[in-house]
Assembly symmetry: D2
């Protein structure tokens, strides 16, 4: 079996950052992943991002994260590319997960900066990424730029310029920042695969040059975004905007309901049940909706017209 090579790796289109299915008691609900995988395939999804923010990877133990990554790779069985988020609290934890990703034959890895002691220079961030990337030298490496949650606000253009000579398997970025000036800087910094990480400004990202997108909303409204991509490619900007505004409507719902639930994931995970896949509650420090909150939420979902959008092909 031939070695996978990071040289040929390139993601385009929509990459859902998949939720992690939990049981009511908070434990993993692995068997749900089979259905989840079929659902995504039926919606023309070609790749997934596992154990990311949406997947609550940071609320899971290392052991759980390994199991979930393995399950996705086994279930996808080559039909979906699997990018595993290996970021832990510090570089040693991330290295362990990166090695595991090699072992289970992930298609690529992604990593955040360390999460307590923060790198405060390009050099330090590159060092961190190099240590993780070197632990999985056969895999494409993506840096996951999420300044609003990590507090690491360095310019990615500078990062890539420094990283490209030091990290052979540096492949690209999950760019979850709103700074499109920096995004276009990245695109001119070299041949890197730049993936939009802000679903609500996907159009802007793509026109500025992003190649694809990793995000939450592609889980439960992939058809909306497939149409957006098609309109954009046809130069039908008004029609593309009609789809794009839908992301903003969902985002606003998420912000409205997320605060009292302790986090935004708790306010979008229930959307999966609406497209036929109940993936269970979020984990602490988030909490699931009460029955009343769920009724209120569903009313809001109806109000924005979600069901009329033909959001997804159901199983």
């Amino acid at each position: 079996m031939s070695q996978k090579s990071y040289n040929q790796f390139w993601l385009e289109g929509l990459v859902p950052a998949v939720f992690t299915p939990f049981q009511e008691d908070g434990e993993l609900n692995l068997s749900k992943i089979d259905e989840y995988c079929e659902f995504l395939l039926k919606n023309n999804i070609k790749a997934v991002f596992v154990n990311g923010t949406t997947g609550e990877g940071k609320s899971m133990t290392k052991e759980e994260r390994k199991i979930v990554a393995e399950k996705w790779i086994f279930t996808a069985s080559g039909r979906l590319k699997v990018v595993v988020n290996v970021s832990g609290l510090n570089v040693r934890e991330s290295i362990e997960l990166a090695k595991h990703a090699v072992h289970i034959r992930a298609d690529a890895i992604a990593c955040l900066p360390p999460l307590f002691f923060k790198p405060n220079s390009i050099e330090s961030l590159v060092d961190h990424c190099k240590m993780v990337a070197d632990a999985a030298p056969s895999l494409p490496f993506y840096y996951y730029h999420l300044p609003a949650m990590t507090g690491v606000e360095l310019k990615m253009e500078d990062f890539l310029i420094t990283a490209k000579n030091k990290i052979p398997n540096m492949t690209g970025l999950k760019f979850a920042s709103k700074d499109l000036g920096d995004l276009i800087g990245c695109l001119f910094a070299g041949k890197f695969n730049i993936l939009c990480g802000c679903d609500e400004q996907l159009m802007g990202n793509l026109v500025m040059g992003a190649h694809g997108a990793v995000g939450t909303l592609y889980n439960f409204m992939p058809q909306v975004f497939h149409r957006l991509l098609q309109h954009l490619s046809n130069g039908e900007m008004e029609m593309a905007r009609e789809e794009q505004i839908r992301a903003q409507k969902v985002l606003r719902l998420m912000l409205k309901h997320g605060h009292s639930l302790g986090g935004n994931v708790a306010a979008v995970k229930p959307m999966m049940a609406l497209v036929g896949l109940d993936l269970g509650p979020p984990r602490h420090p988030m909490r699931p909706m009460t029955v009343d909150e769920l009724i209120d939420f569903q009313r809001d979902v109806d109000l924005i017209g979600f069901k009329d959008w033909n959001p997804a092909n159901f199983l």
Copy 2:
């Protein structure tokens, strides 16, 4: 002479936020505005934004701001539309400047939130804007959304939805935020004139639906952006990006040099001299470049290739 009406007012294309010319001793250098105006006209500019952040309006007294606004209106003499930024420290100061704008027959006004005690709710911000807009009822009113400097981070979509029923002359926004999700929300909130305020992500703004742009770079590289607009309208995305990356290159220069000068305006004002118009030093708390700093700056300007971009038609 007929009353100007806010009903017919709509800005498109590039609106430079003009610099204020100062003498070496820091006092106003009004006569420079004549040349400046001719320069902009020669570059197909149709409107200017006076006494804004670029114009260091907040470093001027009320009296100086009135003189400068008047001078632009007199000089433009209908050839350029003149939007006057009337925002002062508090609503009373802004109202005085709004009344003056009516008096001098400005084409429109724009206003920030109060700058010390900050509105912390949509209602409070709408109240502020209403008081200012009501002081100039014949003029189109733009809210100037600049969260990074004002600290007022409210969602503009919510603002417009509330404002539209309360402020008859509410016309639109100078949207100087990177949140394109909120921008598209604004566009679907009603018929408002949304103007991009982040030069470095202009393409993204326009594709998401912004109608035009108010900014700094349109002063000294208008031809770059005119071409960008043309490419975008032709669907030539790659060529548009080639122009867009130039904004990012200038922005990076600005950030590199701006910090030690006490602010970004101090690091772009010298660009005007490069296109033939020396507009003098910035005001405190910024400082002009020393001779050595200027040499260093010009070397950087050459390095990014500014002169080869055909940035502007010279006088």
Copy 3:
């Protein structure tokens, strides 16, 4: 009449940052200042801080600020020292107010940094202060350090070390930061008059070396703080803490009620009516309490036991 000299100026004890009395319609209510002054004198107050944050100086026009400062000086007639906060939006506005303070024979002036374009270095901040201080060379000058509202987070120890050789009338600081490490640094930086600006940690400030305090709570509960000072001077720490906790109780009330009113001043100004002096509503962007809110507020004031504290000697 002899020249006042900044050399002999030194504040100790409690300096209320006085509220500005407004009428129901928001206009100045100057005559209230007569009573206010008698009230403070009856409570052993020796100095006031006029047009500060508590006084909503930033919501007033320059002309109003001049009138209010003049009224206090006239009314106090030497019985209270009057420190006038002269800070405007920019250095030119502050200079004008500083000159006026000289003209009306204020006892001292205080100034914030410029409020829109912010100094980003010690040098720039010292330059700003020097320009203002030089406009009132006969008056003691205090820098008002309020990082949470101005965003200027420079270390005051560094500021004083640089300022002392450049600003002859540099007298001290209103130190409204919680960083007591920096406070003790200031005390060892030279002979400066350091005034605590955080009422809720007055004890800590005094023990670390602050000489006095400028604040809001000294307006309506001066007797609580006079007792605190006495206990501290007697070494009765437990008893001092019993008084100090009362500041925290009021602060919590202020935070609870202030948000919906648009600012904290709106939630403490009604305390003045409870000690016999109705000073009217706050100005926009704050709003006065509704009748229901006032009932709710008074219930909370009763709950913390305010009336049993013997907070002030009534007129």
Copy 4:
């Protein structure tokens, strides 16, 4: 052997947050802990805080943290109380470390909030702490309040009021916030053991009512702080301040040198070598000083007079 009880647990005086000794290659250097323990005992230290921020616990794997905690308990052998910081990336990781702390017979545990998904309400934070505290029901539990690094800015007074009825072994706080108003609120909220976590404002904390202190500087200048405590207890405030200013001098050195090293621990760990204990380099994302940086650092240490302070009793 009798069960340790959280009922009788109470810390006073100085509790060093101990550094973790690493070898040049970054691996644990456990044997150094023997000497370190003797050094602390010789300096009248009665308790230590293990795997905290100073100890770079967040840069270690769970396995390493267990080994280090165990080594301290074994070495201390009852001569020092050992508080183990059990906080991991999420509650499950923290629970595992809490159980281990019971197993190795730690004297107490301390915990931060989860470090990626942050609790945004008192209830959520109490839930988190309860889950961790319940995993070590026989041990005293301290919440470690470190808002500047965790971003969790909730008021501790509110936290304690809610926690006291829900967490039987809730014992107190490591209060590493500068908000002394909240600190005094905590002291009046119930019988909790409040430990100052800001070495540079220790005096202020103690006077406001803190019972002791957990910090970095107590490692290498314990005698300075023992004297400070003695002066405070004697009512000799001026003499206490003479000692307190020394903390500020070291802090300023730390900030000066820490940034380029990637973090503050890297700039104080070398202080240990100056008192006779070389504890090796910091871990990534920090880096050790170069030879030149070390020379520069030592010059600065000499300049502030560190050696003349009689900072510690050497081994």
